[in-house]
């Protein structure tokens, strides 16, 4: 493993930006006060948390008090889904017996799907899982068709973590506004719109007004911030209940002592996204180079997801005749870190639910490899992948007799 390491798994996590780390440092040993304390130590960190809240609010173009800090996207997504459905049950005049309806898609992150599954199992909600087309896109008409009078929440991710497909969030936002208009605008009968923007935030417009979302989840470690901290935008007036009890932190919506260094890091990291257009253009150029290079040099390789509506840093390709975990291991011995949707590489031996939802067959989903680029990816690294990959696939296809 002495070869130079090449990290192409930025969708899994990103390294903390050095400047972000510098901003966080004082909040471990020097400025350690509890933001809920009334003394000077508390004031210092309370101000830091509020400054970070403002940084996030400026980025999402909302009010600071519409930002709730959480432990990450899993918690943000759970809070959005469980919180909105729980509150709707208490609010309905019909009282007991009201079962809220949630609409989501079959390609969401597992934390969204599993939160929905638990609600169903506990008979706390009915959930519609929308199918997607072969590019991974949700059809707007399908959402409209799925809406019921009991629908309280639509949760559709902004960009997919596995295939990078970008959903038409703004159009869905407009649809929901229209549907809410015809419902008379009463808060208790509103449909709320949530999006998991975890993968989108580095690359796409996250102005919550343009998107027309009521709730939006983010996670710091996907944009060069620290792990274990995230946020949920909750539009003012949204009918939502907290899902854990404790003190009154985060406007009573998310009790628990603040992760001050994490929150400071999140705030710092999000301000850095604003001015990285040239970085993103470079990432897109390198991704295109990788896609073109692979499709040209590896026979019978196929790009998964959408050609046009995809994140600029995502490259997901299938190599039928080889198997994903074997490709991953061989690449890893060349120093290249990627991920795969193959069952053999997952802890539950199940293939990627996203690739299955696209309608791919086993030969394609078991041979899929995801390369995700980031701001530290270089031309040289992409060149190196293009040099070693064709030989790896050729060798594995020889072993399988499918060369």
């Amino acid at each position: 493993m002495s070869k130079k390491k090449i990290y192409l798994d930025y969708a899994a996590t990103t390294p903390v930006d050095e400047e972000v780390f510098e901003a966080m440092k004082p909040y471990f040993c020097e400025k350690f006060g509890n933001p809920s304390s009334s003394h000077q130590f508390g004031k210092e960190t309370r101000e830091a948390v509020e400054a970070a809240r403002k940084q996030v609010a400026d980025f999402l173009r909302c009010k600071p008090e519409e930002i709730i800090f959480t432990s990450g996207a899993t918690e943000s997504n759970n809070l959005a889904i469980r919180g909105v459905t729980a509150k709707s049950i208490g609010q309905k005049k019909s009282g007991a017996g009201f079962v809220p309806h949630v609409i989501t898609s079959s390609v969401e992150h597992s934390c969204v799907l599993n939160a929905c599954k638990t609600l169903e199992d506990d008979k706390l909600a009915e959930v519609t899982y929308l199918s997607v087309n072969k590019e991974g896109l949700v059809e707007i008409e399908e959402i409209e068709r799925a809406v019921k009078s009991r629908t309280v929440l639509v949760s559709i991710m902004y960009a997919n973590n596995e295939i990078g497909t970008v959903q038409p969030i703004e159009e869905i936002g407009n649809l929901i506004k229209r549907l809410n208009g015809s419902r008379g605008g009463e808060r208790s009968s509103r449909i709320y719109f949530h999006t998991d923007a975890v993968q989108a935030i580095n690359y796409l417009d996250c102005d919550v007004n343009t998107l027309g979302v009521d709730l939006l989840s983010i996670s710091a470690h996907k944009f060069y911030g620290p792990k274990g901290v995230g946020a949920l935008f909750i539009k003012e007036g949204t009918s939502i209940a907290r899902i854990q009890d404790g003190g009154g932190q985060e406007f009573g919506m998310r009790p628990g002592t603040h992760n001050v260094p994490g929150i400071v890091g999140l705030g710092e990291a999000i301000t850095k996204i604003k001015n990285n257009e040239s970085v993103n253009e470079n990432i897109e150029r390198l991704s295109d180079k990788l896609i073109d290079g692979i499709l040209k040099s590896v026979p019978n390789s196929k790009l998964n997801g959408s050609c046009k509506k995809r994140l600029p840093n995502n490259v997901n390709i299938s190599f039928p005749g080889a198997e994903g975990e074997a490709i991953l291991l061989a690449l890893s011995f060349e120093g290249v870190a990627v991920s795969t949707g193959s069952a053999c590489a997952s802890s539950d031996l199940r293939p990627s639910h996203v690739l299955v939802a696209l309608g791919l067959g086993p030969a394609d989903y078991h041979s899929s490899v995801r390369f995700t680029l980031g701001k530290y990816t270089t031309e040289e690294e992409i060149g190196r992948v293009l040099t070693v990959l064709p030989g790896i696939i050729e060798r594995l296809r020889k072993i399988s007799g499918q060369a």
Partner: protein
């Protein structure tokens, strides 16, 4: 997780033994299936011994073709090494434990690969015995 393989698994993954097609095999066995991600085919060439008892026949050559993860490839390679030169009686007794053991162990979640390799070999032997009846 895939990095947690023993050195021997890695060695067989990068340098698999007895890989490839076989002309006119005497027995063919297939295990696993593409839906699960792994599919293994083992072919054997057998040299008949004197007498009627086929158990004394010798597995002269073994070849495998495997679509699968590193563990599937390594177990295929190992099972062919274990079977080569053995009598039918001996080869029948090669178990998943033998394959995994010879490889210096497999991560628990990958034990089914070992099972698959032994299974494919046993099916190839079964095929040979059926044909030579």
């Amino acid at each position: 997780m895939s990095i947690d393989y023993s050195e021997k698994v890695i060695k067989h993954f990068f340098n698999p033994q007895n890989m490839g097609k076989m002309e006119d095999p005497d027995g063919v066995g297939t295990a696993g299936n593409i839906a699960c991600g792994d599919e293994m085919t083992i072919c054997i060439k057998v040299k008949g011994a004197a007498g009627d008892d086929r158990e004394n026949d010798v597995v002269e050559d073994v070849r495998f073709e495997t679509l699968g993860c590193a563990a599937a490839i390594a177990t295929s390679s190992m099972v062919t090494e274990l079977a080569k030169g053995k009598t039918i009686k001996e080869a029948k007794q090669i178990s998943l434990k033998d394959v995994a053991g010879e490889l210096g162990g497999l991560p628990p979640i990958k034990m089914h690969c070992s099972n698959m390799a032994a299974d494919a070999l046993h099916k190839a032997i079964e095929d040979y015995l059926q044909k030579s009846k």
